[in-house]
């Protein structure tokens, strides 16, 4: 297991996220009890990542916002363009359940995800392209955490990160 995966796992464990589509991890969490009346405020959330150094930070941001709303979230990893992972996502999108899909993924994965959302009659609420030069930096992790929170919370969207020649990412927020 590489460093990225270990850090993602730590992040997931800390956040108590349910992990789906990750052959390298099995985890489960019980959503925190939500105050009465808040259950309907946020549809079931699924967070998408694709195996980057920012996965853990992004997922912790998602978890923070989801837990604040008194819910749990599922995580779906699309690492390595694994066909089975995309087919599982396709099945998830087509299960007839309403849900919020948030993600911070690479370009190839984003292209596929948005197309699967289209095919599931989903709505694309936001798509942003980002460039981050130092993905291992604390500042980048902090940005990814904030991004995760803002995508779930529908707060004012963060401005796209645009560092020339940095790693390419796509953030997305879709309603199924």
């Amino acid at each position: 297991m590489n460093t990225d995966r270990r850090s993602v796992l730590k992040g997931l464990a800390a956040a108590g996220l349910v992990v789906a589509g990750m052959p390298w991890a099995q985890a489960a969490a019980t959503p925190a009890a939500a105050p009465a009346g808040e259950q309907d405020a946020l549809p079931a959330v699924t967070a998408l990542v694709s195996g980057s150094a920012l996965d853990a930070a992004f997922l912790s941001g998602v978890a923070q916002a989801v837990n604040a709303a008194g819910q749990g979230a599922a995580t779906h990893s699309l690492q390595g363009l694994d066909t089975a992972a995309f087919m599982r996502l396709n099945a998830l999108l087509g299960d007839g359940q309403a849900g919020l899909l948030v993600g911070l993924v690479d370009d190839a994965s984003a292209t596929l995800v948005l197309d699967l959302v289209r095919s599931a009659d989903g709505r694309v609420l936001s798509v942003q392209h980002h460039r981050l030069a130092q993905e291992q930096d604390v500042a980048a992790a902090q940005w990814a955490r904030q991004l995760g929170s803002s995508l779930v919370g529908a707060a004012a969207p963060l401005a796209p990160a645009t560092t020339a020649q940095g790693g390419a990412y796509v953030s997305l927020r879709c309603l199924i």
């Binding site: 370009d107 292209t111 948005l114 009659d121 392209h129 390419a168």
Partner: protein
């Protein structure tokens, strides 16, 4: 842009008139099959081309679930003079994705027409609706344990046979020339009539999927890459699954080897010793398929230096050219052909043959072998991570001659490098032709690089045309330009056919440069 409540309006149509058309679409199809909100329209806009998204923004999306609903859509389009761009699965990624050729066209999405109507395991034929995906067909064949094999393009799992064949796409098996394997179409014409090609119009016929030609002029071809009708059913041939499948690779170290590679492969391909659509892939194409990012190796902008490409080759075990081919048949047949192939390679004194056992499940051999054996995957999408999501496929055709392929590869590389981009290319070997596929990859977050990519694509078209080359297929932003390469007489004939079949010009005006 106007302040319309729609994301775009069809050319020459007022908002009030479009309101009326939307009302009729809704009455005919149901409210859930007519989409106009920005949130629904966004995934139908252009994804990868180096042009402004606004140029390809649809005004609405309508979905049909039956031939009758397609007829209803066509009727309303005629009444209101609304142009309609039809998609099957909408996964034509390198050539324009789901977005229409022109701003304001409505998209007719047929993905809900997704029935596998018939598969005959004895005659090895299929009849499907437009929304059927290759993954769906693969699952059906596997679940029913049918002794059949599919042929599909690289985005195999999610693309579909109707869209790919109607766009004259290719795959990697012996049935890789997909239009050659197509047999029988059902089309809704602009006047609402339903045409069945080949034997399909004969009452009581059972030969629709086995005899392509029918009687009189064979019409199928004019409906591919065109806007003369909407395909609602398509038949095609499936390959019997062979008892033995033997994929292999031949690795060549030098770019200059391309000529010799082609001369070596052509006789084997024409004689069907190697029966499948062989691929000769460049180093960076293979690196992309392994999800290598340019930024893993170099941060400075511009064309990737040869020294960096050499390092990638070394790190990933790639050649300058990487041939992928396969043998199919009984053990005896495969053994005989394997002996012929390996002796030819040995005699040439160049190229390292790699078998599946030697490759041992590593990429890119693994996904290449899957594509050649009809197993879908999504691995080649890794190309889109090379620079940052921008992609336009430049696909000139050439003779299967070493001198021609070498000339094309050199010309393409020099133009791409001049624009600060990389040669990411492969040749797909037809029986006597080459589909030279070059992915013009760029960073879509970089406005300056995006402009460069667009200028590069235009120059590729211009310079190749000067040498007598043209592309066989192109993204929607350049379809008008490419139509000019094929000359005025062909365009005039196409226009006359268009005027005869679609006098109001409602079906995808501008597709392949064809209008009334």
């Amino acid at each position: 842009m106007s302040q319309s409540k729609y994301q775009a309006l069809p050319k020459g149509i007022s908002e009030a008139r479009f309101d009326a058309a939307i009302k009729k679409f809704t009455a005919a199809l149901g409210a859930d099959q007519v989409l106009t909100s920005a949130e629904h329209i966004t995934p139908y806009t252009k994804v990868m081309m180096a042009v402004d998204a606004a140029r390809h923004t649809p005004s609405a999306v309508v979905m049909a679930t039956s031939v009758e609903q397609v007829q209803a859509v066509v009727k309303i389009c005629n009444e209101f003079r609304i142009p309609v761009w039809t998609i099957s699965t909408g996964r034509n990624f390198g050539y324009g994705s789901a977005a229409p050729v022109e701003r304001g066209q409505i998209v007719l999405d047929l993905r809900r027409m997704n029935k596998i109507l018939h598969i005959d395991p004895e005659l090895c034929t299929a009849l499907v609706e437009p929304g059927v995906t290759y993954q769906q067909l693969y699952d059906y064949i596997e679940e029913n344990k049918l002794p059949l094999m599919l042929s599909f393009p690289a985005p195999s799992a999610i693309a579909g046979p109707v869209g790919n064949t109607m766009d004259r796409g290719v795959g990697y098996t012996p049935y890789g020339e997909h239009f050659l394997m197509q047999c029988g179409m059902e089309l809704v014409l602009a006047n609402g009539e339903v045409l069945r090609t080949g034997m399909g119009s004969v009452k009581g016929d059972k030969a629709w999927q086995v005899f392509k030609w029918g009687y009189g002029p064979t019409l199928d071809g004019i409906f591919t890459q065109s806007n003369y009708g909407i395909c609602t059913k398509m038949g095609f041939w499936l390959m019997p699954k062979p008892p033995v499948f033997k994929p292999f690779s031949i690795v060549y170290e030098n770019e200059a080897d391309i000529g010799e590679i082609v001369e070596l492969l052509r006789p084997l391909r024409i004689a069907q010793i190697i029966p499948n659509a062989v691929v000769i892939a460049g180093a960076l194409w293979e690196a992309g398929g392994m999800n290598v990012r340019r930024s893993d190796y170099i941060k400075t902008p511009g064309a990737t230096p040869d020294s960096v490409v050499e390092q990638i080759k070394k790190d990933k075990g790639l050649g300058a050219w990487n041939v992928y081919a396969a043998l199919y048949g009984t053990q005896e047949q495969v053994d005989v052909n394997w002996k012929i192939v390996t002796e030819v390679v040995k005699k040439s004194g160049k190229g390292k043959v790699i078998t599946a056992e030697q490759a041992a499940n590593t990429q890119p051999f693994k996904y290449r072998a899957e594509l050649m054996s009809g197993v879908p995957n999504l691995q080649e999408f890794g190309l889109y991570n090379w620079r940052g999501g921008g992609s336009m496929w430049f696909a000139p055709v050439s003779q299967a001659r070493g001198s021609e392929c070498g000339k094309q590869a050199q010309l393409a590389k020099s133009i791409l490098n001049k624009h600060g981009l990389d040669y990411v290319g492969e040749f797909i070997v037809g029986w006597r032709d080459m589909h030279h596929i070059i992915d013009v990859l760029f960073d879509r977050t970089n406005e300056e690089e995006t402009k460069r990519a667009n200028a590069c694509f235009a120059e590729l078209l211009d310079e190749f045309e000067k040498q007598g080359y043209a592309v066989y297929r192109v993204n929607t932003a350049f379809q008008e330009r490419v139509a000019k390469s094929y000359g005025p007489v062909k365009r005039d004939v196409e226009r006359k056919i268009k005027r005869a079949l679609d006098p109001n010009g409602i079906l995808a005006p501008g597709k392949s440069g064809i209008r009334i």
